[in-house]
């Protein structure tokens, strides 16, 4: 039955080469922990992506309860954490996932760096990877404000004060992020929510696509 459905679609759309191009590729011996245990360092990139998927899924569920508004943001998080079934676990996954993501990303970056895997012809992919690192840090910074508790509020105040000290564009940068040159309030929360949920993920997905396409084009770096 399944085979028939597959054949029916394949006859009309020719999907076999599409998924085979993505899925059917070789895994060299030197990256396979089944053959060389020390090759577990090659798992860091995949695990980073895995944690990122956890972040996306848990984040999607969080938005079902979260209200991006200074009157209700904290109350919605509190409600989620204390009243909603398993809400504490979903929020916990998103909260701790952010930290685990940074750790895995750092490990992956260090693996690539110390193996010199960014050398020709893989310079572009390294740069895309560093941009992904910056975006993840940006997601961490904007996500920190969203529960609208004291630590979120005052940490964001410090962050925006630092942004303001950038020469020439500082005040504009702060206004862009906070929605007002002086007030950290309703507009700030709305902007950080938009940046956290729409702008940065959009940029992240685009960069991730480039990152993965380049890996498949160039293959994984050979053994040292």
């Amino acid at each position: 039955m399944l085979q028939k459905v597959y054949d029916w679609i394949d006859e009309r759309v020719d999907i076999t080469p599409i998924w085979r191009d993505i899925a059917d590729h070789e895994v060299p011996e030197h990256v396979n922990p089944a053959h060389h245990f020390s090759a577990f360092v090659y798992c860091f990139g995949g695990l980073t992506f895995f944690v990122l998927v956890i972040q996306i899924l848990s984040g999607m569920f969080l938005t079902m309860y979260y209200v991006a508004d200074i009157e209700n943001a904290w109350r919605s998080v509190y409600y989620l954490q204390t009243e909603v079934a398993h809400g504490q676990i979903v929020r916990g996954m998103h909260h701790w996932g952010a930290s685990v993501l940074i750790v895995m990303l750092l490990l992956h970056t260090m693996r690539v760096f110390f193996q010199g895997a960014y050398k020709k012809p893989r310079e572009l992919n390294w740069m895309v990877g560093v941009l992904i690192f910056f975006i993840i840090l940006g997601l961490g910074f904007t996500g920190y404000l969203l529960p609208w508790d004291n630590k979120a509020y005052f940490a964001t105040q410090v962050g925006l004060d630092i942004a303001e000290q950038v020469p020439f564009i500082g005040e504009h940068l702060k206004t862009l992020l906070a929605g007002d040159p002086n007030i950290i309030g309703a507009a700030t929360l709305a902007r950080f929510f938009a940046i956290h949920v729409f702008f940065l993920p959009a940029a992240l997905f685009a960069l991730l696509a480039v990152h993965f396409i380049l890996i498949r084009r160039q293959g994984i770096a050979g053994p040292l």
Partner: protein
């Protein structure tokens, strides 16, 4: 797309009538013990992922995500802290060479150089050798940078009493309890405790008393003898009689009972 004479298409589409055979590539000619990603290696990856997920969920279950009280811009003396992965940047701004007159070093020049070098690493370290001994400068710089980040993070985090911070900023809904000012114990509370713990027990310079973990007996003792340690609590905060102390403790416990409901 292949084009040429004799091509047959499905209907009027661009899909070739000759279907691509769905057979896996042959990896036997590849060097070493090369394996197919699909499905052989992917299955193993899922196993690793499953183990990782179990460990991660254990972490999540063991540590509920922290939440502090509702943001209040008028809170006095709150010491802001970023999440741990920004602590090193935050700590950098505390050194005289990166703050005050030299703040541009702290916020632009030093982080800019470090992250700029990270971004442009393939062009700064452009030799052909990949092994660490073949590129001592790049590896040394990275180890130095890593050590600096670890050191700065440690310097920043070691001075923080995380448990005391969490204790002083417990999440209490602003309308969780109503304070009965006609309670016979409220008068003593107002005179002895409200200065530090707030008129509604919500906490000011001292932690909130709503949701306290102390028992009635312990509160009675603490009111007389205080708490050792830093910041602790001074002794003799309450100077009334034992009967008055009993009313005070009953009042505090009644608020907590209401909160617990």
């Amino acid at each position: 797309m292949k084009r040429g004479k004799g091509m047959q298409f499905v209907g009027d589409s661009r899909i070739s009538a000759k279907r691509t055979p769905n057979i896996p590539k042959d990896y036997s000619e590849y060097p070493g013990r090369t394996e197919a990603f699909w499905p052989n290696f992917l299955l193993k990856e899922w196993l690793v992922g499953a183990v990782f997920l179990i460990g991660f969920l254990c972490l999540v279950l063991a540590h509920p995500p922290p939440l502090e009280g509702l943001a209040d811009p008028t809170t006095i003396g709150y010491i802001p802290l970023p999440d741990w992965y920004f602590l090193f940047l935050y700590q950098l701004l505390k050194y005289p060479f990166a703050s005050g007159k030299f703040v541009l070093f702290g916020i632009i020049i030093i982080p800019g150089l470090a992250f700029g070098a990270l971004f442009l690493a393939p062009f700064l370290d452009n030799g052909t050798g990949r092994r660490p001994p073949q590129r001592p400068i790049a590896v040394a710089m990275m180890i130095l940078a890593l050590a600096s980040v670890v050191w700065l993070t440690y310097e920043s985090a070691a001075a923080v009493d995380w448990e005391a911070r969490a204790e002083a900023n417990k999440p209490i809904p602003p309308d969780a309890v109503t304070i009965d000012v006609s309670d016979p114990g409220y008068e003593f509370y107002k005179n002895s405790c409200a200065m530090c713990h707030g008129d509604a027990l919500e906490g000011l310079s001292a932690p909130s008393l709503i949701g306290t973990e102390y028992t009635a007996e312990e509160i009675a003792i603490v009111s007389r003898e205080g708490i050792d340690g830093d910041p602790g609590m001074p002794a003799d905060a309450f100077k009334g009689t034992d009967e008055e102390l009993e009313l005070l403790v009953e009042f505090i416990m009644s608020v907590n009972e209401e909160f617990a409901e």
